[in-house]
């Protein structure tokens, strides 16, 4: 007896569509993920925008500076934190094992996750920009700044998604992933120029922050939201867009290698 039958398996593309739908429903129906991932940066922007609306010099408000940081933090939440916690949960509750026993192409699972990250990231960015322009008079990017915005967000998001998937394999379950990743993300936000100007962070902490993607995402996005005059306040005295691309690119490669080597479908 052979397993070969005349039945035609569904195309990979159609399974990818199913998985994308599943992942979007799983995200947007879960109150915790919507609140922590989607609403948290929004609340931060509303609070910081209202409280810390001081002038950085050259007529630029801190809110304009914070815009870049909070978008970077939002991307970190939508990709790294979201992937690490959701995949660790799905691994420990048997969802991944169940999927691995079906003819679902493995690639479709990851495509579904990527679509989820993309949609959530775009939602966060659009909401933040809308609030920024309506309430805080944020100057939107113009012309080629949009291009910089797009590649920094895309490359940072890719690096953090891959890292999140890799980190999920270290956690015993979703709760432990959340307990590990959330404080680390918070510390990174403090030392990477999200809540404060990066130039105010002690030098040794700047060095630590420079090892991780968040600092480079925030810096790349500052080049979009701030006038070039403020590049002088950056550690290198410039936006260092080449280095932003290099570091985020390296994290993509590291994340991918870690994913391939550590990903498990079951405990």
């Amino acid at each position: 007896m052979t397993a070969v039958t005349g039945r035609v398996l569904p195309s990979v593309a159609s399974v990818c569509r199913t998985r994308a739908g599943v992942e979007l429903k799983e995200f947007f129906r879960q109150r915790e993920s919507v609140v922590f991932t989607l609403m948290f940066p929004v609340i931060l922007l509303l609070v910081f925008g209202a409280v810390l609306d001081y002038d950085l010099g050259s007529g630029v408000s801190f809110t304009q500076y914070f815009m870049a940081g909070v978008i970077a933090a939002g991307i970190l939440g939508a990709s790294l934190q979201n992937m690490a916690i959701s995949i660790a949960t799905e691994r420990s509750d048997g969802t991944l094992k169940g999927l691995a026993g079906t003819p679902m192409p493995k690639s479709a699972f990851f495509v579904g996750k990527v679509v989820q990250v993309l949609v959530v990231t775009v939602a966060i960015v659009v909401i933040l920009l809308a609030i920024g322009t309506v309430f805080y008079d944020i100057a939107l990017p113009t012309g080629s700044e949009w291009l910089t915005f797009a590649w920094v967000a895309a490359l940072g998001s890719a690096a953090c998604t891959l890292l999140g998937i890799a980190i999920s394999s270290l956690a015993r379950n979703g709760r432990s992933a959340s307990a590990t990743v959330t404080p680390v993300a918070l510390v990174l936000q403090f030392i990477s120029g999200v809540f404060f100007q990066f130039s105010e962070v002690p030098t040794w902490l700047q060095t630590v922050a420079a090892l991780f993607p968040l600092k480079w995402m925030a810096q790349g996005l500052r080049s979009v939201f701030l006038p070039d005059a403020l590049a002088a306040q950056e550690p290198a005295g410039s936006w260092e867009l080449g280095r932003v691309a290099l570091v985020l690119g390296i994290w993509c490669v590291v994340g991918l290698v870690l994913c391939v080597r550590t990903f498990r479908w079951q405990d």
Binding site: M1, R7, L9, R19, G94, T95, T102
Partner: protein
Amino acid sequence: MSRPSTVSAPAVTPLDPDAAISIRGLVKSYGDRNAVDGVDLDIRRGEIFALLGPNGAGKTTTVEVLEGYRRRDGGDVQVLGVDPATGGRRWKADIGIVLQSGAGDSQLTCLELLRAQASYYADPRDPAEVLELVGLTEKAGARGRSLSGGQRRRLDVALGIVGRPRLLFLDEPTTGFDPEARRQFWSLIRSLRDLGTTMLLTTHYLDEAEELADRVGVIARGRLVEVAVPAELGGRGSAPAVVTWTEHGVRRTAETATPTGFVGELATRFPGEVPDLAVARPTLEDVYLRMIGEDLS
């Protein structure tokens, strides 16, 4: 303690190409311990086979090798004619796996979960019909995480069969069921059998094995101790009957190969009914406990 074998044990008889599952000399080791230590087994197409054994006996490991979840360390295995270690999407489309809590903590409704699962297969069953089959029609719009334990198990079964598998693996499917839910589940399994589905079942409930299985296998310490129809396991079929009754206020017991004649003779010694008369054969549980007890001692 046996040492792990790193080479395939020589197959005594070749794999049976007509069997749904054919296993020769299966070895799987964890560290220096052989969790599965030379299992040979053929499961016929259309058969319901129950694998029994205490926790840690190698039951789950054996099944996970067959399902393609674990790599074996030795021996030959074919499942629906394919080595599970190399089984691709087409092979997976022909098997169904009922895991313990495979539905997880989903935000999707039962119907959405089944529709998604069905979309991975070439020739799935209608999700609504499958819900009907497992008795969850009323819960079609309920989210996976809101179900009770028994309803969740039924959803697990629904997810396992929606792909119209030719071979279904059921891992302790009725754990946590109340007696009525188990009866309903058993009739579901029988209807799947009538549709020609081969099933490999692991269970701790011996009445369940006796009720459902065409044959049972007892596994202990990684070895298959015996394979037989439930009525014959452990020499049950030819075991002497035990007759008990009360005589002069004393409980009496006798073993006999001819209980009918014995009871007939007993009846002549009493004016009316024989007090507290009972005739018993060893239950599946009796022989099972004796078999694993012998093996463990």
